[in-house]
Amino acid sequence: MAYTIIDTGGSRSFPAQHAFTKGAAGDGEVAVIIGSAVGAALATLTDREGKAAVLLELGTECLGAYTGESRGEEGSNVLGFARFGLGNGEPSNLIELVRQPRTSETALAAAKQIFEAAGLQTAVCGDFAGRIIDRLVRPYYNAALRRLDEVLASADDLDTTLKLGLGYPEGPIALLERTGLAHHYDVTQGLFEAYGDPAFTPARRARVAKQRQRKA
């Protein structure tokens, strides 16, 4: 299926060339809007209803911020998506596809098809802050940082235990140091504001890293 990419600049999903961006055509049945100004591009998109699907790159915001919501029955051919990545690390191979209750199944199938044809994997989720992964891992990362402060074990022992015990490729402390504690602060603070759940409260070490970043 042919797709067109409208790049508004500053895409977090595709900061560099990828098979997906290389596979775009001039006038496709699917419109993919990436970058930091997707709302404005959506507003000016011609023949929006005539597209098989319109895909908006999301940051931490919900798809409903662009499409509107009504009585739990919202949904159209417009979907959200984000390629998952942790902070300063390389983006992963995963696309989280965001749907609404009445999203067109045809549009969803078209979205899956074009991403998977480019070698990416897709996971479909509802339109909730943090989608799947951030909602699951941020409380875990906060807990790991807190337990480090409480000297449950050394950073190396915490990481080793979680790698050997669960087969994780990297322990939480090394991962957060590699990808940026300040970035973790930004994401988990946003989730705390969205849900008010104390599990998302940024851990002390993340707050300190953010303070250090602000002072730099």
């Binding site: 998952f84 891992v137 337990r147 074990a153 235990t161 979680l162 015990g165």
Partner: protein
Amino acid sequence: MTTEIKTVGVAGSGTMGAGIAIVAARAGFKTIVYDTRQEALERARAQTAGFFAKSVERKKLTPAQVEKIMGDLTGTTRISDMAGCDIVIEAVFENLKIKHDLLGELNQVCQQHTLFASNTSTLSITEIAAGSGRDERFVGMHFCLPAQLMKLVEMSPGIRTSDEAFQRAWDFCKALGQTPVRTRDNPGFILNYFLVPFNNDAIRLVEAGVAEPADIDRAIKAGLGYPLGPLELLDMVGLDTHLLVAEALYASTRDPRAACPPLVKRMIAAGRLGRKTGQGFFRYSGNAMFGG
């Protein structure tokens, strides 16, 4: 690594007990598995034979080696048969009274030098040891699931555990070919302290209709490189086991994320316990032991 331990007892022939027995027998120890239920022993032995058959297929072991291992691995329903063990590792339900009753009986049967160890994942080692009659020779040895494949063992001394007993258990763990990591006697130690709330959060995403189980697992595996998704892992652990572990952890920590989501109780009531009943968050066609 040398150890004076020659004979290993494993109390309980469920998923963890059977896996620990495989580890011990495969490492060359004479291994006796005790369970009050003959049918549980027979089921575990059949699964163990299937596991070693796969080991032969994958050329990890020869048929002669498997014959020797299976010969060194016996099961019993008579607790008196545990008298000759140098260490007994209990892997029964996560219930303090059940463990105290079992350990009290073992204490009457076993010799003075015999070490007792608990594979508990959530209960306090010190509290379990207090009902064993030999709290100075009691250690926490938490094997990871599936025990027959995972190298890590979280080892925790209780408050009254002697340094000598802990060192003997540590040396034995290394002689098993495992990788011990010392942890404090805290609820959930390291692994379950993080894993149980994480898995509960994944169940809550299903409950809240955020995503389907397959999408959640795919996201975690593709996005983070984890070998298993949380719901696939829960099916392997068994939702009845997860409920016990989560309730024990919640009772110790009062952490709301440790509290088991209501969906788990509904699935248990419906007989969807995971792999062992053929359906949990996913459907399964067999109940073979993991790996080989």
